[in-house]
């Protein structure tokens, strides 16, 4: 029986299976069901005992490539060992998450296996006639949704996180854990990690409220105003974060970890407040899943209004202080 192989990533903070990988397992489970194949998982790294037992709850086979040389993430070495496992087990499908790691490994693996790859898929289906994967993705800045098919085996894709639910169904008998002792080619260690500079971890994806600023803020000071609004809203909502569209990031007003859009994070909070954001599609793609969208912009033609529920046609400098005051007044009454 052919295998649908899923690459498991570890959450750097918790050491558990990452949420993106739990989603990928669910997609893999569905695909293996639709194609009549087995769901397998592969974990690459070091000290993987506990993790492999966890993954074996969901996947019929769990391949472990456990090696001290793989302790640090290294896309060249990861692609190298994944190539080896693909050559050994000839999977029908190989699924990776479109995360920093997955997106760095997948093209290298595609080149090694000489198979086509589709990255950042938002939906996968199985073509009834050919059995090939139908790969849906956003293209042209999110203005077009395309479905692609590719010949070749394995069918190789990366999948955007948060486009599936997480796997829940556990196996009656846990999956088989298979250790693979691959020799790792020295040529995989051409790139040396010198330093890791940690930045504040911002989980924009988990926020209840996001206040995002755009080019219209006019400079880094604008984000200080957004912080004030954040402080007030934090009294009501559990998790309030400040985000940005691309221009403020390109201009260095705010770090890229707060960027929302096709090349940044995709968010879906309860409330999204867009301040001075014109609403280029590449930004909208990252926030259109929000429950309530409020736009503050002085340009009545700004496309952001057509994706918003509530619009304020004004310069944020004029209205933001009074909005904060109004909210403060309301919250102090309680």
């Amino acid at each position: 029986m052919k295998e649908v192989l899923v690459l498991i990533e570890v959450d750097d903070e918790t050491g558990n299976i990452s949420s993106a990988s739990l989603e990928l397992l669910e997609i893999g489970r569905r695909l293996s069901y639709e194609t009549g194949n087995t769901l397998s998982a592969v974990i690459v790294g070091y000290n993987l005992q506990e993790l492999s037992a966890e993954v074996a709850k969901y996947a019929s086979k769990v391949y472990i490539i456990d090696n001290p040389a793989l302790n640090e993430f290294n896309p060249e070495a990861y692609a190298h060992v994944l190539e080896k496992i693909c050559k050994q087990i000839s999977p029908s499908h190989v699924l990776l998450s479109h995360t920093y790691k997955g997106a760095d490994i997948a093209p290298r693996l595609a080149a090694k296996l000489k198979v086509p790859l589709t990255t950042d898929c938002i939906e996968l289906g199985v073509n009834k006639e050919t059995g090939l994967l139908e790969r849906k993705k956003q293209v042209f800045g999110g203005n077009v949704i395309a479905t692609l098919i590719c010949e070749g085996e394995p069918q190789l894709v990366t999948v955007r996180p948060k486009t599936s639910s997480r796997i829940k169904e556990t196996l009656i008998t846990p999956g088989e854990i298979i250790h693979l002792n691959f020799e790792i080619d020295r040529s995989c260690f051409r790139i040396k990690l010198l330093e890791r500079i940690a930045e504040e971890v911002i989980r924009l994806e988990d926020a209840d409220v996001i206040i995002a600023g755009g080019r219209g803020l006019g400079g880094p000071e604008g984000f200080k105003e957004l912080e004030k609004l954040k402080d007030v809203l934090s009294k009501v909502f559990k998790m309030v974060e400040v985000g940005a569209s691309r221009p403020p990031v390109d201009k260095g007003w705010i770090p890229s970890t707060r960027q929302i859009g096709i090349s940044g994070k995709k968010v879906s909070p309860i409330l999204y407040i867009a301040v001075g954001i014109s609403g280029a599609t590449q930004h909208i793609v990252g926030m259109e899943g929000s429950r309530i969208i409020v736009a503050i912009n002085s340009d009545p033609k700004a496309p952001i209004f057509s994706v918003s529920d509530i619009g304020v046609l004004a310069d944020y400098r004029e209205v933001l202080p009074s909005i904060i005051k109004e909210l403060e007044g309301l919250l102090c009454k309680d």
Partner: protein, 272 residues
């Protein structure tokens, strides 16, 4: 070392900043129609050119810009010469139409073999059209050189390159030997301003044109992208515009409207 030999791979794309109403899809031919959108250099590839220019300012050397396509615009790509690149190679052939990423990387690798020696290959992290983020990394595999993605800073010394790159939870500083391929992210910064005068004087700079045959590419082994469905998603919400004479009035009305909406969606949870 006698300066750096840098190759910048630059893709021509429909202007991603142009009004999206100009973008259409043809669901019979399975084509995205971009006729109304002016061609530009992929912005992230422009950032890669800026990286190359900064490096040759320090170390000296030569920058060759390489572009592959079926319908390249020499006037558009000439901007790279105006910005300071030394050489522009356009590899153009009808058989390069709609190629998949692997085939594009393959064509680039053949063109690079013809260009000859290099220290660095720089390109953008992804194209503004198909957002694949594959070609650079595949190209490095085909050439057998190390590849580092998502660079925001690049420094060269003693035959080695040090790259500050965007990673999951911050930045990573990595080092590798030359030659290497680096993909550049938007945090690197935009391409420098190119004056009208520079654009004019670049008109006389020669451009090298090659076909598939010139770089020994057999068209029959190239694979095309296969599309089975295309559509433009509708995104329309009914937007209530908040009115008011003064900022205070607007704010009051906004907060009231917001409470109303929150109560509809989350009864009993917010706004009590």
């Amino acid at each position: 070392m006698q300066g750096l030999k840098i190759i910048v791979c630059a893709k021509q794309v429909p202007d991603p900043e142009a009004p999206t109403s100009e973008l259409e899809v043809d669901n019979i031919q399975m084509k995205v129609i971009t006729r109304g959108l002016p061609p530009v250099i992929n912005p992230l590839d422009e950032a890669a050119l800026e990286a190359a220019l900064q490096l040759t300012e320090i170390h000296g050397g030569k920058i060759t810009v390489l572009s592959v396509g079926d319908e390249l615009s020499a006037p558009v790509l000439r901007k790279t010469l105006a910005a300071g690149a030394n050489e522009l190679v356009l590899v153009q052939d009808e058989c390069f139409k709609d190629l998949n990423e692997y085939s594009i990387a393959f064509v680039l690798s053949k063109a690079i073999q013809k260009i000859g020696e290099y220290d660095l290959i720089l390109t953008g992290r992804e194209g503004a059209d198909w957002h694949s983020g594959q070609v650079g990394l595949i190209l490095a595999e085909l050439l057998g050189i190390p590849a580092v993605s998502l660079a925001k800073r690049i420094e060269v010394s003693d035959g080695e390159v040090t790259i500050t790159r965007i990673a999951s939870n911050g930045l990573e500083v990595v080092k590798t030997a030359l030659p290497a391929l680096i993909t550049v992210t938007s945090e690197f910064g935009e391409l420098r301003y190119v004056s009208l005068g520079a654009l004019k004087s670049a008109r006389t700079k020669p451009i090298i044109f090659w076909s598939a045959k010139d770089i020994n590419v057999d068209p029959t082994i190239l694979k095309k992208r296969k599309i089975i469905s295309l559509f433009k998603p509708m995104r329309d919400r009914k937007c209530t515009i908040i009115r008011g004479e003064t900022p205070e009035e607007i704010s009051k009305n906004l907060v009231n409207e917001l409470l109303k909406v929150l109560k509809t969606f989350y009864p009993g949870r917010y706004g009590e």
